[in-house]
Symmetry: C2
Subunit: 387 residues, 2 copies
């Protein structure tokens, strides 16, 4: 186990009706709130009204900035920063999924600095302070409701980059599984893949003597997979929605990576598909991860064997480690097929003629990854495996 | 899954040499620190010197209060409160195990009130504020380093009671597995039982649809058990010490109980053995838990079956649920025997002629428990099973 630091201070209010906890969370702590949201689905499904009704019970002044799109845009972040500075807003309340939360975090960071916000994503500026962010979660997927990260897309430069800091962990997250019942099927299962990806990025490591987090990760993966199957049969299964929602938070608040070296290659490779073609984050991960696995599994046959045996029930008896590892990957792909995620770039309708350009973008800040260092050539090879 | 609230803000610095993080954690945040510790073992094993050396690098003024005993006493808490008030101390730094941390938390609570500190334990006063507590952990056991609880013994009244509040969660915990290497065998394994007990109190529930926390709990139990066996063979196994230390924190920071109804009967029954006879907390739990299990397992045969199958590898095939449940309890007892914990009150040299009195004390604030409500008669029966 590696030395580590862990800090996960987000107050989580979980379950049916937990929006009613909102007034107590803001009253007395904040005066001016920016309600930040996406394309308007929260106005159709009643979540916007719920939040406004609760906020009306408090003395806070509410400002609004809607219209965040998937792969949240730097331009919207700049707009938010301007508004927050002008109005002296002291809490950003993100009502939505990961895109809205990530946008809120970037606004919170930009609000307390004179530096250009994009410089934090380029690593040119250090995070030293940020406004608090609160969350009303509507999509279990990115884990951003309790994570330290924000991922923003610079539309002009076709770059999708992350900034990570404990100061970007939301101060509270209201998580009502009923708010996720009306999610369309494709968003539900792209979210499932996103959750799994956060576990994978931590689980597939060379770090030794991490039996506890190995088994916590396996337990979480199995839970996500078994409850995804339940949602395939019945999208209105509250309990399955609840298990997946909680798993989504634990998958990315840092818990499952304690003492381990993270990887993040597949995210880096997938981000380019979103930056260039606007592909859904979870969809890119479902395409890239199996390709990455096939490219790197020999770097640690043992962990891929554990994955196959403990998560997918592959029998190790009488089989070579190579065989067991590949069978685990095959069963993972089978799962992705069952939940309806595209199995290749072509199947997702994404271009396959720009691998060099994608690899250039992916490695624009150098090679990446931990289980295996991925350089430009590797990146091209993995994109080809995903073709 | 039940609705829940979760807040676990403790900053954890984990691993070899993490005492070096102490200056940055206190500098600028606190001016006067009370170094609170136990019987002096930290002066022999160098941990006291390590802490003092690090504190000298900062501008903080250090006061000291040593001598905390196992089952920490109310009298020492009162002494600490007096000192902290007189000197206007602003951080209690507990260097030790659960007793020292719980004593520090009670001092922190008493320091900011004019009410009598014992009234908080009696439920007559409500927790509204407390001084911050920092921890340098030397014994993995109680989980107090990140928990919301403090358990104190009123020596005059033979009462051992708890107070629970998020404000009692330590602000930071420095956790170096090397600090636990010199622990005597009996403390190591009483600690292992204590850790398991915190998982049991959450795991054995009637709450349904909690598959994620079921499997996280099972993963943690299996990790603790397998690493306890490693420490039996080699007490100097850093990695086993690290896994158990991390498991001890996760077992009691609330994570494994998310959305579940907790029980806590066995703690309530065991506390009387400590209050009356000064018995070691972990030892009392090792005696009471199997007795409680045998008394209550029919209340939820399914969870006792999961325990048997998933934690101890009992085969369910061809066996009745009753048989499987009892076989799980038997294997748990076998484990306790192997790690050298006394299997009965008699074996522990504890009196067995005061069950009525113990049961009276245990139920002095009413019946307790969730899986099964335990009244005075039940308490006597369980003590008899533990005889």
């Amino acid at each position: 186990m590696k030395n580590f630091s862990f800090y996960s201070p987000t107050i989580i209010k979980f379950g049916k009706g937990s929006i009613e906890k909102l007034p107590k969370l803001v009253e007395g702590n904040y005066k001016k709130i920016l309600l930040h949201y996406g394309g308007g689905s929260i106005k159709k499904n009643g979540i916007y009204d719920d939040a406004i009704d609760q906020l009306k019970k408090t003395g806070v002044e509410v400002f609004e900035l809607g219209g965040v799109k998937p792969n949240p845009a730097l331009s919207m972040v700049r707009e938010g920063i301007k508004l927050v500075k002008e109005e002296e807003i002291d809490l950003i309340l993100a009502v939505g999924g990961g895109s809205v939360i990530d946008s809120a975090k970037a606004i919170a960071l930009g609000a307390l600095t004179e530096a250009d916000i994009w410089d934090f994503f380029l690593g040119k500026e250090r995070v030293e302070k940020a406004l608090p962010v609160g969350v009303v979660l509507t999509i279990p997927a990115t884990g951003s409701e309790a994570s330290m990260g924000s991922v923003i897309t610079n539309e002009e430069k076709n770059l999708k980059l992350a900034v990570n800091h404990d100061l970007l962990r939301p101060v509270f997250a209201i998580m009502d599984p009923e708010y996720t019942m009306s999610l369309p099927r494709d968003q539900t299962f792209a979210g499932v893949m996103d959750i799994l990806s956060h576990i994978f990025e931590r689980y597939f490591t060379k770090t030794e003597n991490v039996g506890l987090t190995d088994s916590l990760a396996e337990a979480t993966m199995k839970t996500v997979i078994s409850n995804a199957y339940k949602l395939l049969k019945n999208p209105d299964d509250y309990n399955a929605r609840a298990e997946i929602m909680l798993a989504g938070t634990l998958a990315h608040n840092g818990l499952l990576g304690l003492g381990r070296e993270d990887d993040w290659s597949s995210h880096q490779l997938g981000h380019q598909l979103s930056a260039l073609y606007g592909a859904t984050h979870g969809v890119t991960l479902g395409i890239i991860f199996p390709a990455w696995m096939k490219y790197v599994y020999r770097e640690n046959l043992d962990i891929f064997n554990k994955f196959a045996v403990n998560v997918f029930g592959v029998s190790a008896a009488g089989n070579t480690k190579e065989h067991v590892a590949l069978e685990g990957i095959r069963r993972f792909e089978e799962f992705l097929k069952k939940i309806g995620l595209p199995r290749s770039l072509k199947e997702a309708g994404l271009p396959t003629n720009e691998f060099e350009r994608m690899a250039d973008l992916a490695t624009s800040m150098g090679s990446f990854g931990a289980l295996m260092k991925i350089d430009k050539d590797d990146a091209v090879s993995i994109y080809k495996l995903a073709e």
